[in-house]
Assembly symmetry: C2
Homo-oligomer: 206 residues x 2
DNA sequence: ACATCGAGTAAACAACCGTTCTCCGAAGAA
DNA sequence: TTCTTCGGAGAACGGTTGTTTACTCGATGT
């Protein structure tokens, strides 16, 4: 038994990826619930029936797209969270979001659009991933001296605020385009400063 | 010339409203970009061609739906903002959102779904309305003693955080259903407390 | 070398779509 | 009353949709 992937499997993954890429491009101007199976296969240049070799339907493709977009992000976020809590941390995390949006805007648009979109399975998949992010952020916060005395519940609340804000910031970067990028960045930084200020005084006396 | 609406106009508005209602119901399980013209007229019980008497296409209907949902809300929000800034203000505003979601969940779902949805005109209409809300909240904040020394830019930033949080809370109420309502309410209240804390210390020395 | 597997093809299906054109009949204006 | 206006009905159009069935043909495992 060889561990090489084999010509066959390699070709399959190739067209599968082509389907995902084409779908992502088509989803820049519409929602997943209106994305047609034939539309995708036509863009790739394969027969409509070939679609079924990879996905049950477009909803299934959507779930795969969620995995592709958010699955690989846990590692990146994890590394960023390991960095020390200094003055420039806020700027760095916002810059990370900005770079992510610039690197793959279609992926970000897809997540923002389908997070509350019309396909239940995709909504659930995105929600699950975002919850995982919240848990990871909460775990990172728990190890910081600033979180001394915080309850686990409050930590998860705080993490949720940060995650939600990051998603919203990414969406704002998209809407603003390359022109208003600096404006969005400055706004996001000030909002994060506000939240950090709230965090610092969370345990102040009544 | 009589100022009575006339049987004719009244009937037109009636079917127009029926189209809007039917569309809103259909949009609970899909996105606007996949909503068919025939689908809507079938649900109402009129001929497909009757649709054109009221809307150019489904995107046009979507814009009308935005107006119906958010247009009447400015008055409600305005009244709530005129209330004094006491201890229970946060709970009251969250309760207002909860009641709004309970009263017309389909409208709220529509806004949350199409805010980043696949129809540009509708996205723009929602963004415009939300910007108006932000301006109104900022104007209300400007008249409060807690905002002394705040720049106009910072006030709009703060107002944006509150508006975004309200939209997000409304969406959370929807996802949670009637079962997890208390959980969402408690979470939203704590998040707002965090933000208020940041607001209170915004002008603290460096 | 040979039988099997399976990704992709081709054709056909009924169902549905948005849009146009023509017409009807009640409401409104004279 | 007579004439006009206009919301809605009806039929038909070309085009697209998802899905099924039968097929090809090169990679795969023995």
């Amino acid at each position: 038994m060889s561990h090489t992937v084999g010509i066959r499997q390699a070709q399959k993954q190739k067209t599968r990826q082509a389907l995902l890429d084409a779908a992502l491009r088509l989803l820049e101007e519409q929602s997943l619930s209106s994305l047609g199976l034939r539309e995708v296969t036509r863009a790739v240049g394969v027969a409509p029936t070939a679609f079924y070799r990879h996905f049950r339907d477009t909803a299934d493709l959507g779930v795969a797209l969620v995995e592709e977009t958010l699955g690989s992000l846990h590692l990146t976020i994890g590394q960023a969270l390991r960095e020390p809590y200094d003055e420039a941390r806020i700027e760095r995390s916002v810059a990370l979001v900005a770079e992510l949006v610039r690197a793959s805007p279609a992926h970000v648009r897809f997540i923002a659009r389908e997070r509350h979109g019309g396909v239940a399975a995709v909504r659930a998949a995105i929600g699950e991933q975002l919850d995982r992010f919240s848990e990871e952020v909460a775990a990172a916060f728990a190890g910081e001296p600033e979180s001394a005395g915080w309850s686990g519940e409050d930590l998860r609340m705080l993490a949720g605020v940060y995650v939600d804000h990051m998603v919203m910031t990414a969406s704002s970067f998209l809407e603003a385009g390359s022109g208003g990028e600096d404006k969005v960045r400055a706004l996001a930084v000030r909002q994060l400063r506000l939240i950090s200020l709230g965090r610092r005084h969370w345990l102040d006396g009544p």
